[in-house]
Symmetry: C2
Subunit: 336 residues, 2 copies
DNA sequence: TTCCGGATTGACAACGTTGTATAGTCCTCA
DNA sequence: TGAGGACTATACAACGTTGTCAATCCGGAA
């Protein structure tokens, strides 16, 4: 049984509340008592009981981060950055994997977590705008490209523009048959829709003809999907000479298929991805990509949440949309 | 202010305790009252207050998983699997990144977490046996190859043997100059030491001469370290014809360097890694590796922890060592 | 009828913490 | 010298649960 305030108080010869005041750095405690209490704390190895504290204050010091999947390097990286940012506020981050399942996401937003959480940073995959709004009372910050003007603060890059940038880069290389890998049919696949829109816009802007047959659909955004999609594209009579993949994993899968079939990258087919995960910096060839400013996204997400959690008037502001910069990273897979 | 037992009790016209009994599925509650209470619960959308419950029961339903870094695909994968396994027991997993810093690991073991945790699954990187023993009272399961016969349950593969298997595979291909990448000098780098020992054993077993100059040291186990180490090895007058890398990331980095310098893999140099991360299945060439049975490791870790957490007599058993199988996965980087 | 025993239910006291109200104490200033 | 104020420290009551134990109810047995 670990020592409580009571034990410390007894040992220091003061009241329970005074110990509490010392622990919380309350101002009006004389140096003498403070020292005496501190000595008792150290001697007993007192650690405040989180549960009791939370019961009183309704604050747990825990925020949740919900991402579709940790296995995906992009999200793993993001998680790491957010944990770092939260640490500076001495928050603990509870990471949650939704696997993109609507049911789980819904539970999450409804606050059906068994464990009390002060706030939520959420990268939704399955849930659309209105459903998100149905959220409970936990402050929330949305991540990623899903919903603009949703019910909560939102941090994201301009997804459509970024996709267009990637495609423009391919067109700028003189490629005339630019394929895309990563389209998704279901309505909630907003990321895919937006990147497709950006791709299409850039294609038409370059004076190329928009050809739906050059757009490969995928189930998920994994290497295997990219590999399969590329194989399908290679079945067609005329091989494309460039491919924009909606994320880096798809691109790495696609490159794997190309090389396997003896197609040279980038000489025969240029490939660009999206996310700038570390893998792409060491693959062969190294992978051109669009790099969102992830560090900034993480920091902003935590900052926004902090503001909501504070009891200043800012906590009541209407939801904000924060747009973060991205940049094109040209590597071997397009630069040769 | 969310409804509490009190509110439900008032609405159902029963005592607070009866509601509690219903919520906890206590046996002696008549069907009639149970139904009435349940109706009230549903109507009010009552959710038990985790903090209060934890204060009473001293159980939070949260376990922590501490890994060196989430960015590393191996740990990310492991984390995902453990979360899955924990879910079946309706535990929540708090994932913690130690960055391999001794200080952080020490805090963790000492139970200096601000948030109460029922148990800990820990993959130590910096801490050695005795220090781990200094742990608090939270039940702990150790992961990875660090300590045998340590102070807590331990799940791991036979690291040395697995390294020997990988090296034997290279020798079996007829390679005569088999290098290693991943050695580390500091005493706490047990993983590196064990893999090195396995490598050396296999080398000598194959009748090759042990040459320390073929062993490259690294700071960390990342792609960049592998790339740099390989570059260093290539500086030497005679190029090795095979490399055993102590994990897959090192191997991917090494391959990158080899291809960059026009060395063919596996024709000129065969490369094998360790961990079987997904990246290696789609790299070019695909990566031969040693695959620990990660799913089993995850499941066992959670099971062992559950046993410790239970109040059966099993909770008091002496620490157990559980050895998990591994297997050699031969792919293009050694098979040609 | 009266009493017994099991099945139900309820009152009360914790768990360890912090906010509120209050009681001292000591100093300063009129 | 006394009043007022600043500063310290304390007592007490919550926060929402659950364990303990006693109270109540019911049907059937004596």
């Amino acid at each position: 049984m670990p020592p409580g305030l009571k034990d410390v108080a007894a040992r220091a010869g003061v009241s329970i509340k005074t110990v509490s005041n010392v622990v919380n750095g309350y101002t009006h405690v004389s140096a003498g008592t403070r020292a005496r209490v501190q000595a008792a704390i150290d001697a007993l190895g007192y650690i405040p009981n989180a549960a009791a504290r939370q019961l009183r204050t309704r604050r747990s010091g825990v925020i949740a981060l919900a991402v579709p999947e940790l296995q995906s390097p992009y999200f793993a990286e993001m998680a790491g950055l957010i944990v770092q940012a939260a640490e500076r506020r001495s928050w603990t981050v509870l990471i949650d994997q939704t696997d993109g399942q609507a049911e789980r996401e819904r539970n999450l937003v409804a606050g059906l977590r068994r464990h009390a959480i002060d706030g939520l940073i959420f990268s939704p995959l399955a849930l659309a705008g209105e459903e998100l709004a149905r959220g409970g009372d936990t402050p929330m910050v949305l991540l990623g490209e899903r919903v603009w003007h949703g019910p909560a603060d939102h941090v994201a890059i301009d997804n459509t523009e970024a996709a267009a940038d990637a495609t423009r880069h391919l067109c700028g290389l003189g490629r005339r048959s630019v394929a895309a890998i990563g389209a998704q049919d279901f309505a909630s696949a907003v990321t895919a829709h937006q990147r497709l829109a950006g791709y299409r816009a850039a294609i038409e802007e370059a004076g190329l003809t928009w050809d739906p047959r050059l757009v490969a659909r995928v189930e998920r955004f994994h290497r295997a999907d990219g590999a399969a999609a590329m194989a399908a594209l290679l079945q067609r009579p005329r091989r494309p000479d460039a491919v924009f993949c909606f994320n880096d994993l798809l691109a790495l899968g696609a490159i794997r298929t190309l090389l396997e079939q003896g197609v040279r990258v980038p000489e025969d087919v240029a490939v660009i991805g999206f996310d700038d995960i570390e893998d792409g910096r060491f693959s062969t060839p190294t992978l051109s990509t669009v790099a969102p400013d992830t560090a900034r996204i993480a920091r902003l997400a935590v900052d926004l949440l902090a503001e909501r959690l504070g009891d200043g008037p800012a906590a009541l502001n209407p939801p904000r949309e924060v747009r973060v910069a991205h940049r094109l990273v040209v590597r071997e897979s397009t630069a040769g």
